[in-house]
Symmetry: C2
Subunit: 234 residues, 2 copies
């Protein structure tokens, strides 16, 4: 075995160990998710992701300018008209008891920007895609990410984790979870790219207008999380 | 922790150990797959599967009568007209260097029949669905099984395994493999049930007629393994 193969095997062993910790942890355990994200990151897949995201002007500009979401005032956003992204996002955060994403300095490299950007916009992706925060909704959104961010080892690993947990913990939900995965993948491929959007310039835009622009309307048969929209967004 | 919880945790630990062995093994390592199939089987999911498969007359009859494929003479089948199931199945087996499924006695219970029936018809499912035997084709067929056999922990676990292996070994194939998974799931839901079909009475039937009857024609956009049909089945 040469050095490269040896390093590859060590890396895979670390990833699998981290994967098992996430499988054994309850859903939404962010400590282990963070560790998995760190363990699985490598220069090769980062390069593939950056090349893929740079294929469209929005992604290319975001990788150059690295715009950040900045400070989010949920109670200010919650005063906007009820059909706006800002109101619905704030309502989603408040109803779920979530705090706004922290404003933190990051290192001057693509990987740090990718992590920060995707992390701080995650709940906005939930809102614009209409994916609930239950297990099926998270699976739909993970598959959506996998479609929108080619070569992301992280999202594929989360999908593997959730199929495995479904198999051993929630087998009654297998149809719901597989539907969610297939729907998220299909919608992620059909939608315009969400990566790199400067959401903080869109708080006052009606959510329905954004969904139309981004090709995010649900189609016939894509009903996984739709029934929950009324609860989450009303 | 009560006894039920304790047994549940021990079962999950055995399944996860078996899962990791399959992840670390090369593709198509049947020893570890057999161990996983044994480890993950439990009365509860078997009951769900049997209830689901009994919902249609074909499945109900198969579970009562437990028909077996019997001895398969590949070289005899290979003399049938080239458009028949028998010829195309035999050709698939010969081209891939596969031996016919063994004829073996089984215990007198649903689980043994399920395992024997699904095992000995697996390559027929490959042929009628048009799923190749490469990684994408196996993933498509696994998702097809997951749709056709509700509550099967085994197929869901294999999908989890293959998404995890894609993430850490074959990230360039992520789009192809996710497409295969979504397509297999969708086709499995659209197709008529394959479980319980007495294939040995259909060797002389043209494959295209069978695909029409079973609603197995590929639709627009379902192109995952279609390009390989010409190689496998010509």
């Amino acid at each position: 075995m040469n050095i490269v193969e040896s390093e590859q095997q060590e890396w895979q062993a670390r990833v699998l160990e981290s994967f098992m910790q996430v499988v054994k942890a309850p859903y939404g355990d962010f400590t282990h998710l963070g560790q998995l994200s760190e363990a699985i990151a490598d220069d090769y897949s980062l390069q593939l992701m950056v090349e893929f995201l740079s294929r469209n002007p929005q992604g290319r500009r975001a990788l150059q300018e690295r715009p950040r979401l900045g400070k989010v005032e949920l109670h200010q956003l919650h005063k906007l008209p009820e059909n706006t992204l800002g109101y619905i996002y704030a309502d989603h955060m408040i109803q779920n008891g979530f705090t706004p994403p922290p404003v933190r300095e990051i290192a001057n490299d693509d990987f740090s920007f990718l992590g920060a950007h995707l992390g701080e916009t995650h709940d906005i992706w939930h809102v614009v895609t209409g994916c609930d925060t239950n297990k099926a909704g998270e699976i739909e959104l993970e598959a959506f990410y996998a479609a929108q961010i080619y070569a992301s080892r992280f999202w594929l690993t989360l999908l593997a984790k959730n199929l495995l947990k479904t198999a051993i913990e929630d087998i009654e939900l297998c149809e719901q979870h597989m539907d969610a995965l297939a729907t998220g993948w299909s919608r992620g491929k059909q939608a315009r790219p969400l990566f790199g959007i400067q959401w903080n310039q869109l708080w006052k835009t009606p959510l329905e207008d954004l969904r139309t622009q981004l090709n995010l309307e649900r189609r016939m048969g894509e009903t996984v999380a739709a029934a929950n929209d009324a609860v989450t967004f009303s």
